[in-house]
């Protein structure tokens, strides 16, 4: 029974021959490509000028959304690798942080805590997202992925960011906490958008997180 096969089916047949290899993560050429491209995605969203959103047009920056999207789309380990690659290359000197800054210099700045937390945020978000995509019915994906995104943000990004601001700006933890509150509403909006976009990706490209 010979049927003409499209390139797609040939490739997915070849991939499904090694299912256990792909779940381990970080091993195939596809994973390397995903890690590199998503690190670039974080960088591009970090440069983007603040965008006015909603009926009040409050401008928000998008850097943390790139991290949330990376965790939600790639799962824990590849998400960690992509966000880690972004942070390490930025620290080595590539001008890929917000405002085209880069280098170890940002460790002295107010955003040091937030930046260093990104890989761990992607890891935590990715863990929750992987469980959601594997176990939950697709109609629950958007709310549950929102929980994953906001969970990573609350558990990792904000505590680390507050600690970094308090250390680098010589202010108390309490004062740093009040400075951090400014970012909360934007964070909810970004997490919602990221969850909706990630649910779309998992429906459109199921190969990205093998279930």
């Amino acid at each position: 029974m010979m049927q003409p096969q499209s390139a797609d089916t040939v490739i997915s047949a070849a991939e499904s021959k090694h299912p256990q290899r792909r779940t381990r993560g970080g091993n195939s050429a596809q994973d390397i490509a995903l890690i590199g491209v998503f690190a670039a995605l974080i960088a591009v969203l970090a440069f983007a000028p603040p965008i006015p959103v909603g009926s009040f047009g409050v401008p928000i920056t998008l850097q943390t959304m790139g991290v949330a999207l990376t965790g939600l789309a790639l799962g824990p380990w590849r998400g960690l690798a992509a966000a880690g690659l972004y942070v390490v290359l930025g620290l080595l000197g590539l001008p890929i942080f917000a405002g085209f800054a880069g280098g170890f210099g940002v460790l002295a700045g107010p955003s040091a805590g937030y930046l260093l937390a990104f890989p761990i945020t992607a890891l935590v978000t990715g863990f929750i997202a992987r469980v959601v995509v594997r176990r939950a019915a697709p109609r629950w994906w958007v709310p549950l992925l929102f929980v994953a995104a906001i969970g990573g943000s609350i558990l990792v990004t904000h505590p680390a960011g507050i600690l970094g601001m308090s250390l680098n700006l010589q202010v108390s933890l309490q004062e740093a906490f009040f400075m951090d509150i400014v970012f909360w509403p934007g964070d909810v909006v970004k997490s919602l958008t990221a969850a909706a976009a990630a649910a779309l990706v998992h429906r459109a490209a199921p190969w990205i997180l093998v279930r």
Binding site: Q30, I32, L34, G54, G93, A108, A194
Partner: protein, 214 residues
Amino acid sequence: MRVRRRPRRLRAREQVLGRRAPGSGLLHRSPAGLKVAALAVFTAVILVVREPVVSAGGVVLVLLTALAVQVPLRMLLALLRRLWLLLLVLIVLQMLLNDPLTAVEVLSRILAALLAAQLLILTTEPVELVGVLRVLLTPLKIFGVRPGRAALAALIMLRSIPFLADQFHQAGQQAAARGLERSLRARTVPLLLGAVERARDTGRALSARGIDQV
């Protein structure tokens, strides 16, 4: 007589990578690893000491170095223009929360560290930094990190940044054309789908060339 509408000028794109100072001074010629190490030591000293004199001295040292190795100060200080809002917020906060001496120390510490890093960027090619990354990751081999793969991912990232920046810009224009310039979703979904598609294409191109085993 109809007045001919003048075509709207194309907006200049923000150049991200390859913003390099012309010339071939000492810093241009020294190896990237050395510069990264020097920057790390400089930043660590400033971060640990936290004295107004040292931090302010650091700013002066960076400016003098830039003059000595023929990096135009204009290019170095362009960083401040891009970060002016952040710096303004910092100055106001420090005035409110700290005494003047601490404020001077905090501000000059941040400036010195950022400008020193800018000096590195202006005299180094991105690809050289990927080489440094590869060397730095070598000791992590025992944890299963493969430096070759990381360097490959870094190169893919460098190639993807201009592509995705264009994609994002286009998504913004498309959203605006539909009257959705305030919808975050209309801007990000095309970017994300574009990224996934590019990753898939790149992955296939790598497999097709047998670059599975790096």
